[in-house]
Subunit: 218 residues, 2 copies
């Protein structure tokens, strides 16, 4: 309904001049993503995906190796991008509070903007075959650990105050992940507004004393 989605940085080793070949593949990926998100990987047939891009199921094999490959590409690139966004976000900050705020904002913004990917990524891990499943799970573990360590650093400095950094990190991650399930562009909040507010909520959560929340009511 509303998602131009600039997936995929083009990867043309030879340097093709037209954009048709990658376009087709990108369209298929996008259709697969939407269908996987809407009906689930197993419930989506190659014929469904084909119909979404104007061809028959078997024709898809001229562009992709298998249905599984489509899922793998979606899940792996999603995870990579999430981690990348998080690292970029926290890079320029040395204050722990600021780091957490930025990490949360990136996390939420990601789950708002790439809701479909995130949704599929969270639901279909079990349908990803090895070794990709483990690869994704490992990356995800790293990502979680990053949040936890950030909170632990804050605890060590006395800036944060929670009983368990693990629970706090899980909570923050899960509330962000939840965003993917309901956020739609054009709703009450933009992705950025959402990110900011979730940043507030997260900071409150890990802070014993009142955080500096702007008093403005809008």
């Amino acid at each position: 309904m509303a998602a131009p989605d600039p997936y995929e940085r083009p990867h043309r080793p030879g340097g093709a001049d037209a954009d048709t070949p990658d376009d087709r593949r990108g369209a298929i990926r996008l259709a697969a993503l939407r269908l996987f998100a809407g009906q689930g990987y197993r419930a989506t047939t190659m014929a469904d995906i084909g119909a979404a891009v104007g061809m028959r199921g078997p024709s898809l094999y001229k562009h992709v190796a298998s249905k599984q490959e489509l899922l793998a590409e979606i899940m792996i690139s999603t995870m990579e991008r999430l981690i990348e966004a998080s690292q970029e976000a926290t890079a320029g900050a040395d204050d722990v509070r600021e780091q957490l705020r930025r990490a949360v904002e990136a996390h939420v913004r990601y789950h708002a903007r790439y809701g479909l990917e995130a949704f599929v990524g969270n639901r279909e891990i079990g349908n990803l075959e090895q070794p990709n499943r483990d690869r994704v799970l490992r990356r995800r573990g790293e990502y979680e650990r990053g949040f936890r360590r950030l909170i632990e650093r804050g605890l060590a400095k006395g800036v944060f105050d929670v009983r368990s950094a693990r629970l706090a990190s899980y909570s923050i991650l899960d509330m962000g992940i939840g965003v993917a399930a309901w956020f739609r562009e054009g709703g009450e909040f933009s992705a950025d507004q959402l990110a900011y507010q979730y940043g507030d909520l997260a900071l409150r959560m890990v802070t014993a004393t009142a955080p500096a929340s702007r008093p403005s009511s809008g």
Copy 2:
């Protein structure tokens, strides 16, 4: 590995004397639950479920009408129980903070104790056929609304302070739901401890001034 699970209150209209009939059905439901949670509804075959209770796939039809019925029973009873637990929890409190604390604790305790059900309930909605799907979604909507109203009440009384009751309620619900994905009995925290700590986190989230968190460090 470790879940006796007293599902189902027995419903014997006639008043059978043995427990075998209900037992069998309960065992099947439990096996289905575990398999649905582990591999997903669509990836689970009737043969799988049968094997888990020591019979062949087709024999299951002597006890249940269909695979879909199993899913429906799981999802509907889960939702009912969750709502029930929530209502019982908040019943005896008139302080808004206390109500929220109890609601969150019930929510988290539920997702810790009935993690499999909750997990399946959240992931397999799309595989539930109508009209059950809408029924479950409606119930879930009511449940969410209950939390939101609770927060709005707190806002109105000036006890809580958040920009958006909706976002706060989503956050709280989602962090609790996330518990279902990782909590295991026998880990670092018991379900009750977890519930208590999440209650703290949630209260901090909706409160501008520092909540009364016990100073003890352990």
